[in-house]
């Protein structure tokens, strides 16, 4: 289980709290929504849950252990802007295989074309890059996926396609998924339950 207990966050000691006392949990195989308007610190919470930030109070545990500091993190984060999450001086093949070698069925479900492998990131569209980023994050050691506005910048078709692939993969591998989004119809469609950040923060 991915569990956050009494998390509070502020940018610096002399700054006000962005949010305080946030607790939530995601079970394996569960798809949970996290809603709330922009500017409330949803992205910050997503980054803390995936081990990107260390300056917060409270606890994030994965199967009752703290998140590992080194090595592969079982909680993986997908960013809103894929073009910032890939090295512009790498070819797509390097990006795709950075963590593991995704199997054919996953690439097929995401519609990742083999013709992209020799290209540079700036030659792919945002939707195509996001598919690559998703495939990169779904390694065999990934147990939880945090999707931070993963499809906000994408058209409806690409959004549905990526989510279909992700949910299929999550089901087969019993992954827990946290869907961070402000899009109510999307959350309703995807999630078993939805947490409102406004409701859980103090």
């Amino acid at each position: 289980m991915l569990k956050a207990t009494d998390l509070s966050f502020r940018y610096a000691k002399d700054k006000p709290w962005v949010w305080r006392g946030v607790s939530l949990s995601v079970e394996p195989g569960e798809v949970v929504g996290l809603s709330g308007p922009s500017g409330l610190g949803k992205t910050t919470l997503a980054k803390i849950l995936a081990g990107y930030l260390s300056y917060y109070t409270g606890q994030v545990t994965y199967d009752d252990k703290p998140l590992p500091k080194n090595g592969y993190c079982p909680v993986q984060l997908i960013f809103q802007h894929p073009e910032l999450a890939v090295n512009p001086r790498w070819r797509i093949s390097q990006v795709l295989y950075e963590g593991h070698t995704p199997d054919e069925s996953l690439l097929k479900a995401l519609g990742v074309s083999s013709g992209w492998l020799s290209r540079w990131p700036q030659e792919l569209s945002g939707g195509e890059l996001q598919r690559v980023a998703v495939a990169r994050a779904l390694g065999p050691q990934t147990r939880y996926l945090i999707a931070d506005e993963m499809t906000t910048m994408l058209d409806a078709n690409t959004q549905a396609l990526i989510w279909q692939a992700v949910l299929g993969h999550a089901q087969r591998h019993n992954l827990g998924v946290l869907v961070v989004s402000h899009d109510a119809p999307l959350l309703k469609r995807l999630c078993q339950r939805v947490i409102s950040l406004e409701a859980v923060m103090q």
């Binding site: 500017g39 994408l154 119809p185």
Partner: protein
């Protein structure tokens, strides 16, 4: 007011060493926008939406080649004319504040936009104040730097910059994603108001829902072509029965509130376009004739569609 006919944009890129290749990113774009209407341009990223805006404003990178016809108020638009009209009669509402000068306060920037459109400094000052008043920006905001204004305020500053010069054609490039829902509604309302005042507004977005809130017509782009131009009211039932092109239907059905059913595959790569219909490889209605040649844009049920099966 604006007619875009058969627009094509390609980029020359280097492969290894001196070998160049041609990337055709826009193959056949057609679009019309009249005074008093909001025309939404929707499509996936990479469908040529933003490049259309860049072509209209003459801000494509130097390695781009443009062909086709742009007609503004009955006159052909060439690069020199675009440059003289830019900011005066054709204005852009860009995606983010990163398009503002980070080192200049926003008030003077809006004033400068007014000056560039031909107003003398004292008149420009008044125009700026009017634009600020109109978008509910306090005079104090004018003394802030771009990084100091909040998301919603930044939107209104960009609106003020685009409208201060009394431009008649407003091109809004993805003005809504990532914004607070109330700011989205407000931004869309402002765009609708501009159209109601007699301007032509082109709203470029990947968000059909947002577009349908204010648009009169919707142009759907796919792989650099206009595949359909439909009235906003054609998007009514979850099946999209009144829509003409299979891609438009798929796009509409893929919305989470409709069927959430995606179409497999991706747009064809710009350096290797098929010779037939660009959508043929993903189309549920494909027949051998589709691969024989590029379909032309034709009129079907009071809309336009580029499909021989529609």
């Amino acid at each position: 007011m604006l007619v875009v006919r058969n627009l094509a944009v390609s980029f020359t890129q280097y492969e290894v060493g001196l070998k160049q290749r041609q990337l055709t990113v826009i193959t056949q774009l057609d679009l019309e926008a009249d005074a008093g209407e909001v025309v939404a341009v929707v499509g996936a990223s990479g469908s040529g939406k933003s490049l259309l805006a860049h072509a209209l404003l003459g801000i494509l990178p130097p390695n781009a080649q443009v062909s086709g016809e742009l007609v503004f108020k009955g006159q052909h638009l060439d690069p020199a004319r675009i440059e003289s009209l830019r900011g005066r009669e054709i204005a852009l509402i860009p995606q983010s504040v990163s398009y503002l000068d980070p080192l200049q306060r926003v008030g003077p920037q809006v004033q400068r936009a007014a000056q560039l459109s031909g107003a003398k400094p004292p008149a420009a000052k008044i125009l700026q104040q009017q634009a600020f008043a109109r978008y509910d920006l306090k005079a104090r905001v004018g003394r802030l730097f771009p990084f100091q204004v909040s998301g919603g305020m930044a939107r209104r500053v960009l609106l003020a910059t685009a409208t201060v010069g009394q431009a008649e054609l407003i091109v809004a490039d993805e003005p809504t994603p990532g914004l607070h829902p109330t700011v989205v509604v407000e931004t869309l309302k402002h765009l609708r108001e501009l159209a109601d005042e007699g301007k032509a507004v082109i709203l470029i977005t990947h968000d059909i829902e947002a577009a349908l809130q204010i648009a009169d017509r919707v142009a759907v782009f796919y792989a650099g072509t206009t595949v359909e131009v439909a009235a906003a009211k054609d998007f009514d039932d979850p099946e999209g029965t009144n829509l003409r092109h299979p891609y438009t239907k798929a796009l509409w059905q893929a919305l989470p509130q409709n069927k959430f059913r995606p179409l497999a595959g991706t747009q064809p790569p710009p350096d290797n376009l098929p010779s037939g219909c660009l959508f043929a490889d993903r189309c549920p209605l494909v027949i051998p004739e589709c691969e024989a040649g590029r379909p032309i844009l034709r009129s079907v049920r009071a809309g336009l569609v580029r499909c021989i099966r529609a």
